[in-house]
Point group: C2
Chain length 261, copies 2
């Protein structure tokens, strides 16, 4: 059984400020539990509610964590609902520790593709971008200040667990870090609905940074100027813009295809 | 002022069944009001709450509707909240009539790209796909049964108003319609994570149908067999799949680029 205090502590992780202080976050549902099990992330405790566990898959993933030695606790419906962010809970919630990746170690491998995200605020967009970056093999993601918290439950869900595989760095000096990457020989490409270069003609190199910007205001003006090129995806029909996660997919697919490697 | 009965009627349009019966739906916010104003859709009534109207843009769009002769009614905060689907309302809601497009008229123009959507259930995905299809100039969208309702407020919002520009047909006999298109010389391409053909090598023609499937189960097996080819977007990193709206963007961008026109 779980103590009232412990439950209160776990439930406090629904708020960003507490997640940051405690370096812990909640994950919910069978799918994400399976994904985190296969990753390098550590699950501190797994909580489940027998009354809500309907699938064999849920039981299997709980058993796997138990075999690994992860503390597994049974809780009642009301307690689980306090931790849950979804309407139809699958009856299993994990308390995960944030994982620290080493930037130096990533850069040492001279990755071909890095992603830099400037002030993206919609959790669905952020999660989908992480999922897409992971699919196309980006080596890491840099986040500017004022991005939605990546441990936000909606981000975790939209990422489909990709979050557990691709290193993500919250950067204090986003612009400086981009400057450093440029000095290191990285070509910076900013997604820009009014950019001067059609994306399919971009001179991708063996070291690329794709920069995506805020849903309304786009990439910061100073960063756009710093970029080697501003890429546009030409409109063929009507509309003001593409969704930023869709643009990310089109640009990453193209980068991967046209890189000289 | 608005009568209680009228308010109740408008608020009933938050439910799919009532929208379908009444052939009307609600749109909310300045941006969508601007978009629908510029489209062929008819707004029956515009409702606004002065206390919530903070931007000049909102006042401008209301004035535009007034000039056109659309009935514009003032309502109080509580009434507006009954109609609203968002946490932070911008103080303006429109009651729009569904618009009937003519399938025959669209086909007459021998469009290069049609989109067919098989059982997509997430409103965010549906809206983003509509926005993306409109951007790349698809001529129309066919929906199978069991898709999320396109007049769902979340779909309308995610579409960013693209919904008002691209004709969308809810099809009773989805498979039969696809058969007909094939007989008419259309090449059917199904998005398929286990497809046999890499999307960048697809033999796009001057008459293409892109078929997208359900978020979990993909395109229906029978429809996949009917398609001329099943297109895969190769994974370069890790993950189970791409988000369906992201896949739609990558495939439509490629189709538009590689079509022999």
């Amino acid at each position: 059984v779980i103590s009232k205090n412990k439950l209160k502590y776990y439930s406090s992780l629904k708020r960003k400020k507490n997640r940051e202080r405690e370096h812990r976050f909640l994950i919910e549902g069978v799918r994400l539990c399976e994904e985190i099990f296969a990753s390098d992330f550590e699950v501190e405790t797994l909580l489940y509610c027998p009354a809500l566990l309907i699938s064999q898959r849920s039981k299997d993933v709980i058993a796997k964590f138990q075999q690994r030695g992860t503390p597994v606790l049974e809780i009642d419906v009301k307690s689980l609902q306090q931790l849950s962010d979804t309407v139809h809970s699958q009856g299993v919630v994990g308390v995960a520790k944030m994982h620290d990746f080493s930037w130096e170690q990533i850069i040492e491998h001279r990755p071909h593709i890095l992603l830099a995200i400037d002030q993206i605020t919609d959790p669905g967009n952020m999660g989908t971008i992480i999922r897409t970056a992971n699919w196309f093999g980006a080596a890491a993601i840099l986040l500017s200040e004022n991005c939605v918290d990546v441990a936000n439950p909606k981000v975790v869900r939209a990422s489909m667990g990709a979050l557990f595989y691709i290193p993500i760095f919250e950067i204090i000096n986003f612009k400086e870090r981009l400057h450093e990457l440029k000095k290191m020989g990285y070509a910076l490409f900013a997604a820009d609905p009014v950019g001067e270069l059609i994306y399919s003609t971009a001179p991708f190199t063996t070291k690329n940074v794709l920069i995506l910007g805020n849903e309304t205001t786009g990439v910061d003006a100073e960063i756009k100027m710093m970029a080697n090129a501003r890429l546009v995806i030409p409109r063929q029909g009507t509309g003001d813009s593409l969704n930023v996660a869709v643009a990310a997919g089109i640009l990453l697919a193209e980068m991967k295809r046209n890189m000289p490697v």
